[in-house]
């Protein structure tokens, strides 16, 4: 919030109700207009903004490779369906990929 911070539990409920009414999903390059809260689309963007499109709406100057997205799901998110299960069934599926930006083509294909 811009002007105040919720302190007690009821204030957090008020904040959630307000966001539910006023918030909106917007493309990454847009900023909140009057009366709008800005939050980006997609979970990965919350952690590594910039993989989807650059500030001009193109893909030429991305700050992260598209494939960076995979690693966010792999290590940071824990969403089960997005990437191979690296704990039990495919522990070595990224072994050849030391750097996502350079080695993303080397990520193994896993057949369940």
């Amino acid at each position: 919030m811009h002007s105040m911070k919720p302190i007690n539990r009821k204030a957090r409920k008020v904040e959630a109700a307000m966001i539910a009414v006023t918030g909106d999903v917007q493309a990454l390059q847009l900023r909140g207009g009057e009366g709008k809260i800005y939050y980006p689309m997609g979970c990965t963007l919350n952690f590594t903004p910039g993989w989807e499109v650059d500030v001009s709406g193109g893909t030429a100057g991305l700050c992260q490779p598209v494939e960076r997205d995979l690693f966010d799901c792999h290590l940071g998110c824990g969403w089960p369906a997005q990437v191979p299960d690296h704990l039990n069934n495919a522990p070595d599926w990224t072994d050849k990929c030391a750097s996502a930006a350079n080695d993303w083509r080397k990520i193994d294909i896993v057949f369940p």
């Binding site: 811009h2 002007s3 302190i7 007690n8 009821k10 900023r31 009366g35």
Partner: protein
Amino acid sequence: MSAVEAVASAPYRQRELHAFEAAGTHFVYLVPSGAIFALDKIGSEILDRINKNNSTREELVGFLLERGYERSDIDAALMELEHSEVIMRGDAVHEKPKLPAKNFPLQRIVLNITNQCNLACTYCYEYSPDKISKTDGKPKYMTASVAEASIDLLIKEAADRPSVHVTFFGGETLLNFPMLRSSVDYAKRKCAEAGKHVEFSLTTNATLLTEQVVDFLAEQKVGITVSIDGDRELNDKMRVFSDGRGSYDVIVPRIKMLLERHKTNSIGARVTLSSGVSQVRRIYEHLTQDVGFAAVGFSPATANPNRLYSIGETRMETVLEGFEDLAWEYRDWALAGRHHGFTNVNDTLKELHTGLSKAYPCGAGLGLLGVGTAGDINLCHRFVDSDVGQMGHVHKGGLDHGARDQFLNTHHIGARYDCHTCWARPVCAGGCYHEAFVHYGDTSAATLHYCDWIRGWNDLCLRIYGEISQRNPSFLDRFTEN
């Protein structure tokens, strides 16, 4: 101009709230929601500007741009303040609070298992000139049959609630200990059959505590409130046997034994403040340091102001000063992450942290009912066996839902007009029905003689809450219910 355009061009104004400062931060306590927000710089400036000048949106945006704020921040801030109901444009429209759903599930029953007492405390609301219960013709002791019917009623009226609570009260509760013991067994068995968890508590004057009694209470995890008013001199002013002898020397060794042997639930001291007994710190320190209580709560005696034992306005000011002194000590301890036993602060902070916005001052008639020795159901333990607040009989038709609905409709905050402009109503909601009845002869009257006191107390607790929220926020986790 359309209605929408008229609102859009109307000047901003502050909605109903209580502003306060703590730890160098500006806060707002919103009414009636009970939400607490810390204002950032722009939020404080907007509120300050609105209160000094009636500003339209255009004027306000111009003012803030001149102060160097970005337009996008200004827009977002105004949107937030409006949607959170801190500020508004146009005329205020007061929405009448909604009445609760019918058949509110019962959560607690208070069984007055005897109307007899072995003490004769001067201020007691069951024996003093202000007494409202009419015990003539009623049995002195509740029978197991009445207690069991009450517990059956609790289970039935609790509907889907997973957990219920039975409180034993008196008179002196332990005068009917054999029946109390069988009631605990019965409640546990019946609640287990109904798939409900049950908890117990009682209030006692401690005169009859023996090792056998205490061991039973510990084994059954019964929460205990002990009535005691401080050191020997203060306690024995009002808490006396019928021959005038003080009770202090009888109870203190028993209380120490209780605190030593009973560790399975909370044991708190409850102090009644009255004329001559208003030395808050002295009482608190004696009960925590010398007697060993971990929690001490204070309350002024409910009394007609003409009574000699009534605490009176002047003494109440002394009491508030004493409360404030102890409350700041609570704050210091909280900032250091330590438990402090002044339960009045603890209880208020918990309500503020949750953000309660009460439609009723307490659970009486709502989630809580009292039952007298004969089985008469009443509003709460203080009204048991009086003409006021009758709501049926445990053996004769059970809870009178019509009487209960009527009571709830006429005592709702929406019907308490005196409270409609008070910022403290989310936590107070008009005050104790019994206090109102003794003072004004009307349970639905707001306890106006305490208004300044209640606002002063809540303002103090808000400032303490605000400071803890900024300097040791993890302390507040203890107030989050699971």
